[in-house]
């Protein structure tokens, strides 16, 4: 998959970085050098949809805050998977109608990539040194798709090489693309996991604009598995529309017929959840998307969520499917309470650090 850019902005201080040189050599969009990339990342007043316009404007700049952080979805309110986020980029060239970035990066919607990512590796080294006996799962796919622009940036090469050489770190590259060519030429030494967000075809067609089809994602999963990577899948957000139960089961049948359940590191699940601001932005940008018009209620955490019995029913059907698959596919819920977790899996959720470690080494 290749995504077109309208413009490429490069911060002066990043002009000679390896990332900038690679992108300059491959990009076809007009290049502009700017003193401060933050200005280029801000919304354009003349754009009818400044968020969408931002997706077509790449800014190569320095990151001015730490790269590594706990997953922003984590909270004492919820069962948590102990995921750590490495923010190497912000925003995404794809345009899913339910995406939280529509609110989260509304004030700086350009596709930002941080050229000083050597500092991220230093942060990871400090993390390892702080707890040499622990194992950490670190992902780059929270505020951006991990692989969407990889043919242009080549970031995955440095990442895989770094993680492959470090025993107690697992890298998770999360994507909705089939952009895996760079990965296939590398040896991850079992320390890199590629994960795909998966949705039934009906959700893909209605909501997941410019992404690879579910079948293409599953096919890419099979190819990276054969190349020595671990694979995982995220059914998140799950949408509870009238035909959802059948569609999600069919999707799992397709997945398990391509990748044996025992070969899957985990499958996570999470229901659609939207703050009031995100819900308004999503409905404004995608007014005809029926998937955004479910039966939601305002939950205790201030987010609109699918009415509890509907989403719990969907989780349980899939949890049963995972059990019946024969490989005992590990699974967890994202941003759900401990009580929902217990009702779905029949056991309490693990502590985040234990869950994180288990998912990292599986």
């Amino acid at each position: 998959m290749k995504f077109d850019l309208d413009d490429l902005y490069i911060e002066d201080a990043c002009r000679e970085t390896a990332l900038a040189r690679r992108v300059i050599a491959r990009a076809t969009a007009p290049i502009h050098f700017v003193e401060d990339g933050r200005a280029a990342a801000r919304p354009r007043a003349d754009a009818a949809d400044s968020f969408a316009a931002g997706k077509r404007r790449m800014v190569i700049m320095r990151r001015r805050s730490p790269f590594l952080m706990a997953c922003p979805a984590g909270s004492a309110q919820f069962a948590c998977c102990g995921y750590l986020v490495l923010t190497l980029a912000s925003n995404c060239p794809m345009d899913c109608s339910y995406c939280f970035l529509q609110e989260y990066v509304a004030d700086n919607p350009a596709f930002q990539i941080y050229a000083n990512y050597d500092a991220a590796f230093e942060e990871l080294e400090r993390l390892r040194a702080s707890a040499p006996a622990r194992h950490f799962r670190v992902g780059t796919g929270e505020l951006a798709d991990s692989l969407a622009m990889d043919s242009l940036t080549g970031l995955s090469i440095d990442l895989v090489n770094f993680f492959a050489a470090r025993e107690n770190l697992t890298l998770e590259l999360k994507t909705k693309t089939d952009e895996i060519e760079n990965l296939l030429a590398l040896d991850p030494r079992g320390r890199v996991m590629v994960s795909w967000t998966l949705s039934p075809r009906r959700v893909f067609e209605a909501c997941e604009h410019r992404t690879a089809s579910p079948s293409a994602r599953i096919g890419a999963g099979r190819r990276v598995l054969d190349a020595g990577y671990r694979v995982a899948f995220h059914l998140d957000p799950m949408l509870a529309y009238p035909e959802a139960e059948r569609d999600y089961i069919d999707l799992m049948d397709e997945l398990f017929s391509t990748i044996a359940p025992a070969k899957i590191s985990f499958i996570s699940m999470g229901g659609l959840r939207m703050t009031t601001g995100l819900r308004a932005a999503a409905r404004r940008r995608f007014p005809k998307d029926a998937m955004l018009l479910g039966e939601e209620v305002l939950a205790d955490d201030g987010r609109y969520r699918t009415f509890a019995p509907m989403r719990i029913r969907l989780y349980k059907i899939l949890a049963d499917k995972f059990k019946a698959a024969g490989g005992e596919v590990p699974s967890y819920l994202c941003m759900e309470t401990a009580s929902v977790h217990e009702r779905v899996f029949g056991a309490p959720a693990s502590h985040p650090s234990i869950a994180g470690e288990r998912l990292a080494i599986r």
Binding site: A308, P309, I312, V340
Partner: protein, 179 residues
């Protein structure tokens, strides 16, 4: 059927009379003629208030996106006709009309909202309160027992035990079954 421009003028007059905002008025006018006429007829017959008219336009729009039914088709449904033609005052029927639209838009949720009526029907003993989660936003039902003496507590617990099937049914409806 009225000619289109006449309908538009009537809709504008109806909307202006109720101080309906421009966005909702435009969405009403954007409906196909049978739909906008059907809503106009109901708005006038039930004397819908501003908020009710805006809610009706929102709900009809969402039902059309979700289910593919035009507003005219939705407004022709039996439950809508029943709500509009039922006994009771005009304001009561207007409220029943909006309620009927909500039932079509949020079928599972509305079934749960009916829990409120079920709880009322439980005839709880004195000192016992059953509290639904706010906005049905969680799966947690709260039951409070207030007692000052051992006898009061015993009576409340005994009475509560008799209500067990009804309470379990309520928990299933707001959070789903364990099975």
């Amino acid at each position: 059927m009225l000619r289109d421009e006449t309908t538009a003028a009537n809709i504008r007059a109806c909307a202006a009379g109720r101080h309906l905002d421009e966005i909702h008025t435009e969405r009403w006018l954007a409906m196909l003629t049978p739909s906008r006429l059907a809503l106009l007829e109901i708005a006038e017959r039930l004397n819908l208030r501003t908020g009710q008219l805006a809610a009706a336009i929102d709900l009809l729009d969402e039902i059309e996106i979700r289910a593919g039914a035009s507003p005219a088709q939705t407004l022709a449904r039996e439950e809508i006709r029943r709500a509009c033609a039922g006994a009771g005052s005009t304001p009561w029927r207007a409220a029943a009309f909006i309620e009927a639209l909500r039932r079509i838009r949020f079928p599972e949720l509305q079934a749960a909202i009916d829990l409120a009526a079920e709880i009322a029907a439980l005839k709880r003993p004195a000192g016992v309160s059953v509290v639904l989660p706010k906005d049905l936003g969680s799966d947690e039902l709260t039951i409070r027992i207030g007692a000052r003496t051992p006898t009061e507590l015993e009576n409340a617990l005994d009475a509560l035990a008799e209500k067990k099937p009804g309470l379990v049914r309520i928990v299933k409806m707001i959070g789903g079954d364990d099975q």
